[in-house]
Symmetry: C2
Subunit: 326 residues, 2 copies
């Protein structure tokens, strides 16, 4: 909790960047000294959610999944006074683009298992379902809290995907406004749901990877990375946090199955897993999905200069590799 | 020259991605077997430009800077028939967003020195100025050719910045349309030139790093990376390719000086260098610049999910470090 994070706005390019010095202090932990393992609860802030053995004591051993505030938070709620929250967007001061504004928001970490496992695909299915329910429950919490407009749940597995700790974990970052790129995509999804028609048309087609009763696993039409794959509910639903307990069990099986395919088909890549869900209180026709982005290619001057991504594998090639890796 | 590259458009997100299987075939060259060194001219396609010792023979030794088509080109001119070029944008078939379209364009590599040097800052100033003139000359070539709408010149130094060969080199990729992110930024620059006023206001201020007679070196208001710095001409000019020979000499000194500062202040980082210049035949108020992006932070699930970048160093801290590293 050193220097407060700030949004900086660039009027020359229209770009807004979050500057967060505390994140630069994140240590790289050797495996033998893992702050996310059971018994090291004192090394993280107090838990905000935990799935525990009955009778176990908060912030002690006995948990299956544990959620804590991020010690190296990119955004914080305490950088503004409580009076801010009485003003609704777009009139909240941090929402308008201008030179500087406080880095308001929340950042949480999901410790996905008490033992030192580094691959989500290796967790038991029951355990993976608990992780998925913890994502859902924290999204519900912040939706109901009312102060935030949007939260991103994401998981970085492997250092090439940006992970600084190898123990299975994921993160939530919530903001009082909707990031412009997210707002643009949500806008593009309507009117009507373009996803519903697309899923029905692609199941069994060239982009098909797998399916279950409730979920479709498809490569997207314009993948950004070799092997990029999406998991989508077959029935229309804008918000991930609407997920029921039985669907969480099924989703765990589907996601772990996909990650095992990606591991085999693309030589065990680092990857990002992203929950794309509608902003809180969104009323339009969005359709949530989970994106898996294998990080086998890098971004260079071309991508940073033009915003155009270059992939090396066609989606129908990737889906064939992933089908064969089942 | 295997599978032809294609643009793929995603109607679900509005995203367009270039799929180029040939780029996936790029080998990683060990230093002792460098295809960019003098004497290895047969390992690259025939040169399209070279600054040579008088009397030396094209595609043989005797060059200072040599430009060749990229053997692992992300885009190519031969993927469409010549009749395409008789149709102007936006009616050219590859310009409209739709499912698939050919990956039309050019990709060239600048071999920046005949000897095996890996750092642009270590080239002689005369040599660096030749490199800058070669960038300018190839931009002029493609501007005058008339088939392309935009070209990006960029340099990746260090593997963390995406370089697959360590010998000093840079690249040009040109397209028959302007990438959406570039079009958006060019649009944001007008009416009037926001850059001219910004440069005048910031010189000597908190974002000031250095200056010469013709150029300002400033940290941007919302840097994406720790130590991101821009070099801008003080006199208004939209197109980099308008650069004169004396200005190229001065620019070489300014850019090499900046790269030496970045190397000292940020622990010798890999970096991308990007020429931000107006699209060809652009008539509006753009102001060219060179961006230097040190790549000490990585992109992870948060950035790919939201488009929001998190930096760990405020621009006024970065500029102070860079000033002190002079």
């Amino acid at each position: 909790m050193g220097v407060a994070p700030e949004w900086r706005f660039d009027p020359l390019t229209g770009r807004r960047v979050l500057i967060s010095p505390d994140r630069g202090d994140r240590p790289i932990h050797p495996t033998g000294d893992c702050p996310f393992c059971e018994g090291h609860e004192a090394e993280t802030p107090p838990e905000v959610l935990a799935f525990r053995t009955p009778g176990s004591i908060p912030n002690g051993p006995g948990w299956r999944v544990r959620v804590v505030p991020n010690r190296y938070a990119a955004v914080r709620l305490d950088v503004v006074g409580t009076d801010l929250w009485s003003v609704l967007p777009p009139h909240r001061p941090e929402v308008r683009p201008h030179g500087r504004s406080p880095g308001v928001g929340v950042a949480e970490v999901f410790l996905e298992c008490p033992h030192h496992e580094t691959a989500f695909r290796n967790l038991s299915q029951t355990h993976a379902a608990d992780v998925i329910r913890s994502w859902r429950d924290r999204l519900r919490h912040w939706r109901d809290d009312g102060r935030l407009a949007f939260a991103q749940v994401f998981k970085n597995e492997g250092s090439a995907a940006g992970a600084s700790v190898d123990h299975c974990h994921s993160q939530l970052i919530g903001l009082p406004f909707v990031p412009p790129a997210v707002a643009d995509e949500v806008q593009a999804a309507g009117p009507g749901c373009v996803f519903c028609g697309w899923i029905a048309a692609e199941l069994g087609g060239p982009l098909h990877v797998a399916e279950s009763d409730a979920f479709a696993v498809l490569c997207p039409p314009a993948p950004r990375f070799p092997g990029e794959t999406w998991v989508l509910p077959k029935v229309h639903e804008a918000a991930f946090e609407a997920l029921g307990d039985p669907e969480a069990d099924e989703l765990a099986s589907v996601v772990q199955g996909l990650l095992a395919r990606v591991h085999r088909a693309f030589d065990g890549p680092a990857f990002n897993l992203i929950i794309k869900s509608a902003p809180f209180r969104h009323a339009g026709p969005y359709h949530w999905r989970i994106e898996v982005l294998p990080r086998t290619t890098s971004t260079a001057g071309w991508e940073w200069g033009t915003g155009v991504l270059i992939n090396t594998v066609f989606p129908e090639q990737a889906s064939a590799l992933l089908r064969a890796a089942g």
